[in-house]
Amino acid sequence: MIPLEHVIGLSAILFLIGTIGALTRRNLIVILMSIELMLNAANLAFVGFARAWGEQDGQLFVLMVIVVAACEVAVGLGILIALFRNRETVNVEDMSLLKW
């Protein structure tokens, strides 16, 4: 029997690693991968709570999150390809036209 706080701790650690990646990396593909990692950490928390309370609702939320993640990757990489065609780069510092 795994204690729930260990599951939540693992989830928090993975989420923080994803946050570090999304905030500090400049390769847009790696930033998208870090966001996937953060979604996965949230899934882990959902599954852990579903197990702890003996309810399956958390697992159904996870299915929805997986669908949203797949859609996000499809659209995000479409935007990435369109950007790369225009700017010839995946460096986010070269895509700062809308930043402040």
């Binding site: 928090a12 996937e36 859609c71 390809i81 065609r85």
Partner: protein
């Protein structure tokens, strides 16, 4: 230490290490994607330990099988095997991101309660395809159907965005 604990802590450590490898891998984008696959598969092992069998199977099929493959396709399509970025211009922002994350870490880890209620007995077939599928098609049928609209919108959007010229 029982087998499930062994699998949980082993796979959890592997997930953390490969996630760190993904974030810290500055040179090679393909290797970062491979590290992401390892993280996804170890998380699937953790899901099995936590009695979420259907979710574990979908994790491998959708994340490791589809999403990372799409990432690899894009990396190959753009021919980005190696990052050739010049040194960062905005060190201050990068440092600010790291400090923000460390603050978030302190908040997260202090928020984790020490004793949470846990049900020891779970119903028969918990997390299997039969039980989860029955819930999905009865109580959660509206979100399930809305999901199909979301996928349709994402497919159309991806095609429109990635197409070179719309006629």
């Amino acid at each position: 230490m029982s087998a499930s604990e062994l699998f949980f802590y082993g796979a959890g450590a592997l997930a953390v290490v490969s996630a760190l490898g993904m974030v810290a891998n500055v040179r090679n984008t393909v290797a970062a994607a491979m590290c992401l696959v390892v993280t996804m598969i170890s998380l699937a092992v953790v899901f099995v330990v936590l009695e979420a069998h259907l979710v574990a199977a979908l994790q491998i099929m959708v994340y490791a099988g589809a999403i990372v493959v799409v990432f690899l396709f894009v990396v190959m399509l753009l021919n980005l095997r190696r990052d050739t970025f010049e040194p960062p211009r905005q060190r201050l922002l990068k440092a600010a991101g790291t400090v923000l994350t460390l603050g978030l870490a302190v908040v997260f880890l202090s928020l984790i309660p020490t004793s949470l209620p846990t049900v020891r007995e779970i119903p028969e077939g918990f997390g299997g395809y039969r039980a989860v599928g029955a819930e999905l098609f009865t109580r959660f049928v509206l979100p399930f159907e809305v999901t199909s609209l979301l996928i349709l919108a994402a497919v159309v959007g991806a095609v429109v965005l990635a197409k070179r010229r719309l006629d």
